[in-house]
Amino acid sequence: MTATRSNPVLAIRNAEKQFGAVHALKGVSLEAHRGEVLALLGDNGAGKSTLVKCISGVHGLDAGQIFLEGEKVSLPSPAAARRAGIETVYQDLALFDNLTPAQNFYCGREIAFPSWLPAGLRFLSSRKMDREAAAVLERLKVKLPKLESPVALMSGGQRQAIAVARASVFARKLVILDEPTAALGLRESRKVLDLVAQLRVEGNAVILITHNMEHVLELADRAVVLRQGRKVGELKPDRNNQQQLVSLIVGAES
């Protein structure tokens, strides 16, 4: 299941990020490979969200480099990161309540015509977008009550499933999930975890932030642990080193 070690799709080198007095990232380096789920672990405030926000273009790094398939890139905006093939599923900001699943899928990259008009003045190919979104949800076995109603009417799990499905369609390199199951019950978490496994099968690199050790053991091929902005460990999680992983996270060195 582990990918070839050859060339990582994403490599971070010595990432530094400071918010005023808070030093959120202190020289963090990591790699993500295709066909691999990388768990990003750490206590609250460890810097996990900050790191993935830097990768998905929300924040810029103060120092350090980001390489995509070996090439140094700068990701000045979320849109730039998406164009580069990086999709992010945020815990809260995932979807637009007032839009349907298909509208959510294509929000910000609508299929529209004619191409000679400025983007905003083009006409939506609504039927095409509806059809393709429905096909993707079908393929990923995401069951929704009604495709034409706004996602406001759908449960947390259904919404998160839509967000992950969207990411899987548009990601060409990397999918980042920041605590995708934090607000979900057991059964709904299950569905989302299955989708995450599906992302890996489809050949994406996956970075998964979670506090749930069971999820880590089940899904992660590798785990990177952050503590107070520093990378304090990297290992392949299994039942035997679970305790070690927890110690790394909370900082109780043995």
Binding site: S77, L95, D97, C107, R109, G120, L124, A152, K191
Partner: protein, 350 residues
Amino acid sequence: MVNIAGDRPVEAGMTSEVRAHHGLSWISLGLWLLGVGPLLILVVLVGVIAALTPDFLKPGNIANIVSQTAVIAIVAVGQHLVILTRGIDLSVGANLALATVIGGLVYRQVDSAFLVMLAMVLAGGAVGAINGIAYVFGRLPHPFIITLAMLSICRGLALELAIGHTTMRGMPDAIAVIGGASSFGIPNSFFIVFGVALLIFVMAKAMVWGRWTYSVGGQPDAALRMGIPVKGVLISTYVISGLCAGIGAVVLAGRTEAASPLYGNLLELDTIAAVIIGGASFLGGRGHIGHALVGAMMIGVIRNALNLLGVDVFFQMIAIGLIIVIAVEADVLRNHLEGRARVLQAARVS
């Protein structure tokens, strides 16, 4: 942390699924009723009033309502776009007044209906652009303040510019025809409302710009992350609101054959009320052109009916205020029902 219904053992889950299914049916019905509510209320209102006063449904009176409501409807169409993006445009009434005055001044220079109309519409659009640009680039927390400031500035400017600081009589014939005359027994202003509404409807529903507007209203932060040009979208809604005020100015100046710095008094409240009682959400992201039109019609019908019935004008204000309260509560109820629907969805076996 434990999900209320989602994690129950299988047997309990089956019954909770059935219960969830029933609950969802009721919620769907409730949401549907809330959706058609305003139109339903308008129809019932018309029925009741028609029964009370036979004069109400006479063609002459209907035409009267339409031409009196046209200005509110046109400006409410613009206002609804602003409210869709969680904003508010308090300047529309003063903007309209200033636009008529500028049109009146142009008329004193050249007797060209086209140039006078152009001046009014562009003046409205320019005020809208100032609103939008100041709001977005001034990094204001809410458009309330800037549009309130523009209300004051426009009203003051209109009074300052108007000859004699008061109403200026006279408008080109073509404008008088647009605002005051009828074709095939239908007031021409109706066709203006129809044209403006159709154009905005197409832009909002069929064009990418419309989708962006809804996403900015639904989740501004997420829209930014999706790469939507949020600032441009926000500015565009204020520009369109201003243009609608300018078009409203043409209709009102035409109907009265005059320009006046006193026009459009409290029009901002009428249009906001129209959008809200029509059924759009004040929380942003929910609403369409039908809401603005139904709301405007409701205001027009209530005013007209209470006039016919000889009810005090003060009572009209109270009645419209009460309907606003009901509409806002309906919005709250809709949110509540949607929240319930989410919980019940989680309870269903998927």
